[in-house]
């Protein structure tokens, strides 16, 4: 009637989902780094701006105003370019994060639905019904097996236990 390790399978699935949720942000940042190919360009621009600023600080504005002004214009131009680059990178990162989250939640929902579908009529484990009186029918939902622990009850219990263990 009940698979021997169904309870362990459900517990493992819930644990895995919660673990994945913890590492979602790391995963999305890794993916965005892989997708973005011009990350070096940004660091080059930063280095260039830094070099120009150092050069500008060594120039006297009174003595070489024209050179100073040219350098200032270059710095401003490169800074604007860098800002645009950073803005587009941030937007892309947000998009990747959003996609990763959506995919994760769809996968999690699919996993839960498949578990419920599989164990709809089979309890994950069976105990003597007098042990879990008077709520044996509620615990056994939706299997209807006396003394059985239904998939919904077990999913709720596992979710709660994993949440508590995360807090501790």
């Amino acid at each position: 009637m009940a698979a021997g390790y169904a309870w362990f399978l459900v517990l493992g699935s819930v644990f895995l989902c919660n673990l994945m949720k913890t590492f979602l942000s790391t995963l999305s940042s890794l993916l965005s780094k892989m997708i973005q190919k011009d990350a070096e360009q940004e660091s080059e621009m930063r280095t260039e701006i830094q070099g120009m600023k150092m050069e500008q600080s060594s120039i006297s504005m009174m003595d070489e105003f024209a050179k100073y002004a040219r350098l200032e214009r270059k710095i401003n131009k490169t800074t604007d370019k860098l800002k645009t680059h950073v803005k587009s990178r941030t937007a892309q990162q947000a998009k990747v994060k959003w996609v990763v989250n959506i995919v994760f939640y769809i996968a999690q929902a699919a996993l839960m639905v498949s578990l419920i579908w599989k164990y709809y009529s089979d309890p994950v484990t069976v105990v003597p019904s007098r042990w879990i009186a008077p709520v044996e029918r509620l615990v056994a939902f939706p299997t209807g097996v006396p003394g059985g622990v239904g998939i919904t009850c077990w999913l709720v219990v596992c979710n709660k236990v994993v949440t508590i263990s995360k807090l501790l």
Partner: protein, 312 residues
């Protein structure tokens, strides 16, 4: 004759002044009649304000008095700039009934009266209460004490409805509440977006969880053959209720969420919301204990079956 004409003018002037003085004196007497009652209410509500927030014994005039207190104090410093004080924890709409009965310090009549009669001056200058023997309370203490007191008040005698001033004050106070709640929500959103909320370490909570685990193991080993597993659990929860007072209480910060903000703006008192949230939190604790207990029980059962040491 001139002296006769002057005498008649003086008589008219003195009769006008005395009529104005008479009116001022009548108002002052009327206020003095209720001064003791008002003072008792203030002092009484300052003591009982934290305990009896839900009582509706006090009239709505005190709200208007508080407005007058603040306005008169600030008028002494900046008479050209009236100020309104808005109560975040207010639950009832403002009633300007008694404030409308009292003359505003900014009206020319009252200023003329104050310049003319010395008896009216203390009322307008520094002391909001007509009884000058008592020192006027600090504004901030008034605000803090009266805030607690004015929740759920309704004066049976205040039946003024449709007053545009009350509607405007009501609108302003609601708007102020909404702005403050919006600010609180905005400040709490970054902490919630950060992921799992870090809760303060609660030793009682850890004690409950460990107790549930140990009881589940004990029940699986020795008790489950004889009675239902939920009976020991209920006994344990009753024991926890009694033991909770022996553990240090951890102050849980009440978070402003969209739900609590909506409930506050709909007029539900903050105390009711806090009590409901507290009850909900306690139910959540019991549910957590139950889930952990049942999980441990099933785990022990499966491990014992795996070991083959016992058949159910």
């Amino acid at each position: 004759m001139d002296t006769g004409g002057d005498t008649s003018e003086e008589a008219t002037g003195s009769s006008t002044m005395s009529a104005a003085q008479r009116r001022a004196e009548m108002r002052r007497r009327k206020l003095l009649l209720n001064s003791e009652d008002r003072l008792n209410r203030i002092v009484g509500f300052a003591k009982n304000g934290s305990d009896n927030n839900g009582t509706k014994a006090q009239p709505n005039r005190c709200r208007a008095q508080r407005v007058d207190i603040i306005m008169s104090r600030r008028a002494s410093r900046r008479p050209a700039e009236p100020r309104f004080h808005l109560d975040l924890d207010r639950t009832e709409p403002w009633s300007p009934s008694s404030s409308s009965q009292r003359p505003s310090p900014f009206l020319p009549e009252s200023s003329a009266l104050s310049s003319l009669s010395h008896t009216a001056t203390p009322e307008r200058r520094g002391s909001p209460l007509p009884d000058c023997s008592e020192p006027p309370p600090a504004v901030e203490d008034d605000v803090g004490a009266l805030r607690q007191r004015l929740k759920g008040e309704r004066a049976p005698s205040d039946n003024i409805s449709g007053s545009p001033r009350r509607g405007l004050q009501n609108y302003l106070s609601r708007f102020d509440d909404a702005m403050k709640l919006r600010g609180q929500l905005a400040s709490e959103k970054p902490t919630q977006d950060g992921g799992v909320e870090t809760e303060e370490f609660d030793p009682f909570r850890v004690f409950r969880l460990v107790g549930s685990i140990l009881l589940a193991v004990f029940v699986r080993m020795f008790v489950c053959k004889y009675l239902s597993i939920f009976a020991p659990f209920l006994t344990l929860e009753l024991a926890y209720m009694g033991l909770s007072k022996y553990f240090p209480k951890v102050e849980k910060k009440t978070k402003t969420t969209v739900l609590t903000a909506a409930l506050l703006l709909s007029g539900i008192p903050a105390e009711v919301i806090n009590r409901s949230m507290d009850t909900y939190r306690r139910m959540g604790d019991v549910f957590s204990d139950l889930c952990l207990y049942f999980f441990t029980f099933v785990l022990c059962h499966e491990l014992l079956l795996l070991c083959g040491s016992e058949t159910p």
